[in-house]
């Protein structure tokens, strides 16, 4: 085991700010992309349903 304790793990040998600063921002950016994709998907789903209703009206 590399880490003696949780504090040791968080401290990252004195580089905690830099290591976690990198990983945290990466996680935030990727999660944001996933959330934005979900929101876009939902908006698209509405368009799709609206088109289906419209096409039924024409029949």
């Amino acid at each position: 085991m590399i880490w003696k304790s949780l504090d040791d793990f968080i401290a990252m040998g004195g580089y905690g700010f830099y290591v976690w600063g990198s990983y945290l921002v990466t996680a935030i950016v990727i999660i944001t992309e996933i959330l934005l994709l979900r929101a876009r998907r939902r908006a698209v789903e509405k368009i799709r349903q609206a088109q289906a209703v419209l096409s039924q009206g024409e029949l």
Partner: protein, 246 residues
């Protein structure tokens, strides 16, 4: 067996195929991320020169690889759209651009967070860093140009030209550490030389890179599905879609 390679070149057939592929790639990305993070933090040893700060490379290097690779694939699709006038190709290019920009940003950000404790500077105007920053501007330029033109087919063509001109930057990024005397170190992984790092460090980096690949594919497919519906909403096949489950 006769395979029809062009069957999935149409948004009508590609849309449901992409939908079926996404969960598999997303799951692979999640599993590989967990495995990669485990190796990065609990298996890979402490670097004898850099201490623990080197653990940043487990995201930095894969992100930097993805930023260049996605750009080449994006430019390839853009070129296919320009040459064969296939609308799905151009949609793929548009779907890849935001994810490529995201990885470029991550590469720059984590690079800065590694550079500060290692070099003593967040940023230096060295050839590698500068050309990677230009890559971010190329992605942003591609997206901005595409968004600025109302007619999507014209936007596809204009941004494809921009993407193709920008391709020249990718070998510049890759070879910058050889061509110029840069502060940035040389390639970490080479096809021709023995690895310069511990096997577990290399493994962690490769697993993380694979996770980034799977994530990028899943994200691009999810985005291209949105783009297809947004652009083809007037088409009859979209109206017919709603009658079936997603």
């Amino acid at each position: 067996m006769k395979l029809n390679w062009f069957k999935y070149a149409s948004p009508v057939t590609f849309y449901p195929l992409a939908g079926k592929l996404i969960p598999g790639f997303a799951l692979a990305a999640a599993i590989l991320t967990v495995a990669g993070l485990y190796i990065s933090f609990f298996v890979a040893p402490t670097d004898f020169q850099q201490g623990e700060s080197y653990r940043i490379i487990f995201i930095h290097v894969p992100a930097a690889w993805m930023s260049m690779f996605i750009y080449i694939v994006m430019a390839g699709w853009a070129a296919a759209g320009l040459i064969f006038n296939t609308r799905l190709s151009s949609m793929m290019a548009s779907a890849l651009a935001p994810t490529g920009a995201l990885f470029t940003f991550i590469a720059l950000w984590t690079g800065a967070f590694w550079g500060k404790p290692t070099w003593g500077a967040w940023w230096v105007w060295d050839a590698r860093l500068t050309s990677e920053l230009i890559l971010l501007f190329l992605y942003m330029g591609f997206l901005a140009l595409h968004a600025a033109i109302d007619d999507p087919r014209r936007a596809d063509r204009a941004s494809a030209v921009l993407a193709l001109v920008g391709v020249v930057n990718v070998p510049i990024i890759y070879f910058s550490v050889k061509w110029w005397n840069t502060l940035h170190q040389g390639a970490s992984v080479s096809m021709t030389m023995a690895p310069k790092m511990a096997a577990t460090m290399l493994l962690g980096m490769l697993v993380m890179a694979l996770a980034c690949w799977m994530y990028s594919i899943a994200a691009a497919l999810a985005r291209v599905r949105c783009i297809i519906i947004e652009r083809e909403q007037q088409a009859e096949w979209v109206a017919n879609l709603a009658k079936e489950p997603t």
